[in-house]
Amino acid sequence: MIEISKFVVGLLILLGSLLSLLAAIGVVRLPDAYTRNHAASKSATLGVLSILLGLFLYYLLIDHVANARVLLGIVFVFITSPIAGHLIMRAAYNIGVPLWENSVQDDLQKARKRKKVDEQ
């Protein structure tokens, strides 16, 4: 029983750190601010979540202590990180950071232009 739980905990923590590494590689490798934000806000979230889950299971199964603060941490990261990603993305768009040149479509720009024409 202890062996199986050690295996699961180790797997979760390894998976979490691997995902964080991949998020870092994505931030270095991808071409523009928006696609980098995709990598950072998704992979880093699940990485942190699985590391915290591994920690919680370690204390629960091996030390027999249920640490509720870790669970609350999981919930907070789960709720806040997509919103942080959205806000960074929106701020970048509003100060005019250009899209990557291979981008094919920009409906938001069209909508903004249409609105300006309507106002005049």
Binding site: L19, L22, A23, I25, G26, R29, L30, P31, D32, Y34, T35, N37, H38, A39, S41, K42, S43, T45, L46, L49, I79, P82, I83, G85, H86, M89, R90, Y93, L99, W100, N102, S103, V104, Q105, D106, D107, L108, Q109, A111
Partner: protein, 158 residues
């Protein structure tokens, strides 16, 4: 929904007082019988039986988790592919959700779906502008996913 939940708690306390037993087991027994009573009296409430809403919330939670895992697999595939051959784009999506919390929940779900991130919600709350990592193979599939999300959220707030 909140009213029915409160009523169910109230019935559980009445059960505890009637049986003069103040343990948590008595509370759960009372809660169970209270839920039965509310189920049989469901036609007197304006909204439907509230445990159905609770089921919908649980379903939405599992949808959230599975989408999170899928999103990460998608991002890892893009990051580790030898050539950067994706085509990013910003597209508009019409939504028929109306309340603020529903739109917040929908955009959170979209942000966690494979390869999409919400950039802006228009001022009249009717259009979401979404940045997609790879437009050509997923646009149709994404619309399907979004229909399923919207349906799940509507199921919660019904």
């Amino acid at each position: 929904m909140a009213f029915q939940l409160l009523l169910n708690f109230f019935l559980a306390y009445i059960w505890m007082f009637l049986s003069n037993d103040y343990s948590s087991l008595a509370f759960f027994k009372g809660y169970f019988f209270g839920a039965l009573i509310l189920f049989f009296l469901r036609r007197f409430f304006k909204q439907r039986f509230y445990l159905l809403n609770v089921m919908a919330v649980i379903k939405l939670f599992f949808l959230f988790c599975s989408e999170l895992v899928k999103a990460n697999i998608g991002v890892v595939k893009v990051v580790l592919s030898p050539k950067l051959s994706m085509q990013p784009a910003i597209f508009a999506l019409e939504t028929d959700l109306e309340k603020d919390w529903e739109i917040t929940l929908l955009s959170n779900l979209i942000t966690l779906t494979p390869g999409t991130l919400v950039i802006e919600v228009s001022e009249d709350n009717k259009t979401l502008y979404i940045h997609a990592m790879d437009i050509d193979d997923v646009e149709q599939a994404k619309l399907d996913i979004k229909n399923s999300f919207e349906k799940a959220i509507k199921e919660v707030s019904r």
